[in-house]
Symmetry: none
Subunit: 418 residues, 2 copies
């Protein structure tokens, strides 16, 4: 079954916004075993959208249209869909009630122009959007099933998973089950991972399982995808997973939907521990990552940000002779745990450098303290301030994850100067 | 002059690679005043590429094709171009010599399959690629000029700037200049802004200036775009800008490339001031936003994160009778400024709530202190934890921006409960 994707909107047509919705839709379809055979982008002009829908209908067995369902005048998708299907727009009372209660629950009154979002081509099937005011809908155009989806990414993602994919599977007739396994790692680049996983790749190829990488700096995702006609995953799935775990080893920070910060919070909760955090250039980013996973608010105690090592030295009233970066970093980790009555103290202290070849970067000093025990590590990340800040956040989280899990903290990562 | 963009390759069709080449080409064309009217993506199948070129030729005055010029078997672009133009492929001796010397200068011998990269449709114009082995070429197909470009980003970028844009300008005959004006606002939703700017929209329409919105919650961007044949912006541009400034008023946080945090840092720098920040649920996100703009590291002094109002009450040793949220928020702002020797103290303290209708949200208490002067504001943001956290970060930054600029801090925003 061939599927076309049509993305609308001046912002993506003119390149102002990178079209990540397209890649998300395509990847999702491919993961579920559909063939994507055509993608197009048009702006917010009635004539162009009309023509793009005609082309899409002529090429594919089903089409996913993204965007143009908003309340403003340049949101034209419903209008064009009605025109091409030669039907009228009708007010969908069910959806109008939904929008109005959406506003009501937020203590607001629905603006009049949001009414437009409940106008659907006659004969459309309404597709639910539990988290927004733009509903999706499905409609036959020239005998091809069109699915219309909102442009807001999280609304699109949810609608794809829960509404569109099941409908496409019904259309396809045969039930295909998709089995996906994901490993998130930190510290290994894509080309090294590719080499490390030669055996797994061979095993996957032999058993028609797809092995792929996706790098979102500073993490790398390694993914296995298999489609089967029965509910069980293919027999070879588990041995390949084991091989990946063996090869990537301690660099794997989490699997599937779990994040590195989620994993850390899980470990803190299981050991009934808490942490207090001090940061410099990461400026609260480590703290906020952990806090967002700390649902009950009882794991992350306190966070401090200061600009310089000297600030910390003064704040914690360290003796003047304890003035080297490793000593300050370790003492600060101990003292923050002790003063804030938390099990762990984590300090991620940083200094920018320019080396003899005029390369810039960040030197990261990491310490984690628990009672009298203090672990320390130093690392140099070359690159621009924004780039190395991302690296330092992840390095800090990974250093803490390894400490909690009792793994070695000194294994070199690909992004640091060796 | 309407230009279409056709990107080829399985990696982008299936969403494995995000199509940043597309956005780069489109943005570059728009900046030079060309109209991009159509974009498509197809995989590495001869039939689909052929069909996509036919569609592109039928829609645009010129087409840029990206990808498929490599040495491997799935690089089919030249072959399809020759077929559709009904000409033969010919070996371009000049380019063959270039490839071979490219390898030679790297101490290597040209692999036989690179020869394929010098095969061009008869009658093509060769387009130079000084940094790679894939040349570009131009060819008329069905009377439309097609420009073929390599998929490697830096080769594409260079070829666009130095080779393709000048050729397109020649084709167009006239020089067009593009004028873009952007306003970033916080606190007004897209539908309300649409209503507030009816007059500006009318003025823009009358003078062929495009007015559009882009909402990235919790901010909204309002943009004017005009193309002219002389270097000056159209006469009506300035009056429309003034009208937008009048209508959106204090809700405008910054213009063009400036961000709200950049604006705040600018104001701090101009008044030689510093700030210390205390946060709860925003957990360091306000601090890190400001820190990233604080290039010299002398504006943001210190940041504190704690989990509860009680933690702050204890940390700052407030008397037991000073125990209401507004009092704690204000005292903490004053004390953090005072203790850390900074001009301003900003406190953004938060508590989750469930109201009588079981709606969840966050109550935000904001205070900014300077010397003896303390401003306070309270707000309720309904919604999920992640959603309201984003809102609280922006509300905190905006509250501080307004305080620094001497603007009223109590104007209601669309996202809060009224």
């Amino acid at each position: 079954m061939k599927i076309g994707i049509l993305c609308t909107g001046d912002e993506i047509l003119t390149g102002k916004t990178v079209n990540t919705n397209y890649s998300h839709i395509a990847k999702c379809l491919v993961d579920y075993g559909f063939e994507v055979n055509w993608g197009s982008v048009v702006g917010d002009q009635l004539k162009n959208i009309y023509h793009a829908m005609e082309v899409a209908a002529s090429l594919s067995d089903a089409v996913i249209v993204n965007g143009g369902l908003g309340p403003t005048l340049d949101d034209l998708t419903q209008e064009v869909a009605a025109k091409i299907a030669q039907v009228e727009l009708e007010l969908n009372q069910e959806w109008l009630a939904h929008i109005s209660s959406w506003y009501h629950s937020r203590g607001r009154i629905m603006p009049e122009n949001n009414r437009k979002q409940a106008l659907l081509p006659a004969g459309s099937e309404l597709i639910d959007n539990p988290i927004g005011t733009a509903c999706g809908f499905a409609l036959d155009i020239h005998g091809v099933r069109f699915f219309f989806t909102p442009g807001v990414p999280k609304e699109l993602y949810m609608m794809l998973d829960h509404e569109i994919i099941p409908r496409l599977q019904n259309l396809r007739g045969v039930s295909l089950y998709t089995h996906i396994k994901r490993f998130h790692s930190f510290g290994i680049g894509e080309s090294r991972a590719d080499k490390m996983l030669t055996k797994a790749a061979q095993m996957a190829e032999n058993s028609q399982i797809k092995l792929g990488f996706q790098s979102h700096y500073p993490q790398l995702e390694t993914k296995l995808v298999a489609n089967t006609t029965t509910q069980d995953p293919p027999e070879m799935m588990a041995p390949i997973e084991d091989d990946i775990r063996d090869c990537l080893g301690n660099f794997i920070v989490s699997e599937d939907d779990l994040t590195i910060e989620g994993k850390i919070c899980q470990m803190l909760q299981e050991s009934e521990s808490t942490v207090s955090i001090v940061e410099m250039d990461t400026a609260g980013l480590i703290n906020s990552r952990l806090h967002a996973c700390d649902e009950k608010g009882d794991l992350v105690r306190i966070g401090f940000f200061m600009q310089t090592m000297r600030d910390f030295h003064d704040f914690f009233q360290l003796p003047i002779d304890q003035w080297t970066q490793p000593v300050v970093t370790k003492r600060v980790a101990s003292l923050t745990a002790q003063k804030n009555n938390s099990t762990y103290g984590l300090s991620v202290l940083t200094e920018r450098y320019i080396d003899e070849r005029e390369q810039v970067g960040i030197e990261v000093h990491l310490a984690v303290a628990k009672g009298g025990d203090v672990k320390y590590r130093k690392s140099r990340l070359p690159g621009s301030p924004n780039w190395t800040r991302l690296g330092a956040v992840e390095l800090g989280l990974d250093f803490f994850r390894r400490s909690l899990a009792g793994l070695p903290v000194h294994e070199l990562i690909d992004f640091e100067q060796h």
